[in-house]
Point group: D2
Chain length 130, copies 4
Amino acid sequence: MDPRSPFDELIGTEWISDDPDDARVRVEVREELCQPMGLVHGGLFSSLVESICSRANYLAVAEEGKVAMGQSHSISFLRPITEGFVEVRARARHRGRSTWVWDAEVLDSEGRLCAIAQFNVAVRPAPQRG
Amino acid sequence: MDPRSPFDELIGTEWISDDPDDARVRVEVREELCQPMGLVHGGLFSSLVESICSRANYLAVAEEGKVAMGQSHSISFLRPITEGFVEVRARARHRGRSTWVWDAEVLDSEGRLCAIAQFNVAVRPAPQRG
Amino acid sequence: MDPRSPFDELIGTEWISDDPDDARVRVEVREELCQPMGLVHGGLFSSLVESICSRANYLAVAEEGKVAMGQSHSISFLRPITEGFVEVRARARHRGRSTWVWDAEVLDSEGRLCAIAQFNVAVRPAPQRG
Amino acid sequence: MDPRSPFDELIGTEWISDDPDDARVRVEVREELCQPMGLVHGGLFSSLVESICSRANYLAVAEEGKVAMGQSHSISFLRPITEGFVEVRARARHRGRSTWVWDAEVLDSEGRLCAIAQFNVAVRPAPQRG
């Protein structure tokens, strides 16, 4: 796997921790991440959750010759963010042979809880190369 | 509301229809929308679903002096997209006084179903300006 | 598999169709299915969705020596039910080798939409017996 | 509100704590709560989550003349339960004027995590009686 994630470069993801017990990413709020009312777009929250969980999951299973693919994602939005940064903290609550389940919190720069999420990941043998 | 959505400009959303019975957006696949394995990032699917549902919902309730705020979102990923375009088709399944509920499909350029989603929106009186 | 489902006997599930394109169950509303305000309990909606999707999925993959296990479930409640019957209509939107994804509608006896749901099922080889 | 919940009497819910920081219920596993393979039915997990969150939410807002109605629910199943008891522990992560958001864990009698859930509740003025 090419470790570069072009979409994360586009949105500006800063990788902080890949530890499955406390995986973290952060993005500085800037205008181009906002929806029309000036709030950070909910899709940015979802994208960050998926980025960090997928990455931490991949890194944890790559040694066993496996890949991780997002299967489903649920997120509840609690509080908007308009400035500072957006941080996601995620934890793998289940680490099965074929499925990992993560929960995640989205926080603002004051540490206030802005969203909670669950992300389910399928773990599968890596495709063979010829 | 400023009708511009900076995040949608960043990702390249093309607005096709705001009809709550058949709301649609589309994005051309390009490298910067992909995750490390070369698939369109799942967060892009989520972002498009939230963009079109929020916009169509806002346009439908703005006349009554109301705004629409995403409350929760669930998406299941069925099939990756690597080229062509990503299209979201959404439909408001419930149009209550304080809540709208949408379902949405994510399709590729061949019309294949790639994800299904549910998006719940809170409808509230617009904040007063002083 | 013993075809009897004791929990469905407890709640009174009537099996109508196991067709993965239009799977259906129904339950007559009775007081013991209600929560304190006299509305059918949301958990009854969830239970019916899981029962019919799991059953129809199992029946579709059993010939291949596989079993079906619910992995995740999202439901949005649109309208309460107080009398008549509760009907669930479900459809398999994705039928992969290791995952099936269903969507479902909960209707009342007037045909009004009362909830929408997504249910994800893991499909796995049946455990071997010794 | 009649404090009796007939559906909880049917399934056998034991109310342990209504504290929104640590709300708890428990049910003894018995055959009639199981699906065909002898595992506790997933719908029972969902029902217990909705029962305790709705009840604790109602008790917390009733003094203000408000009622609580479940809006959406997402649950991921991690591990089956076949004996002992099923316990749900829930916590209100957001307590807004019009929305509360809960997360919940489903545990078996060994304290193992068997499911995680998010439950969103609409808080509204109680209907007036004439």
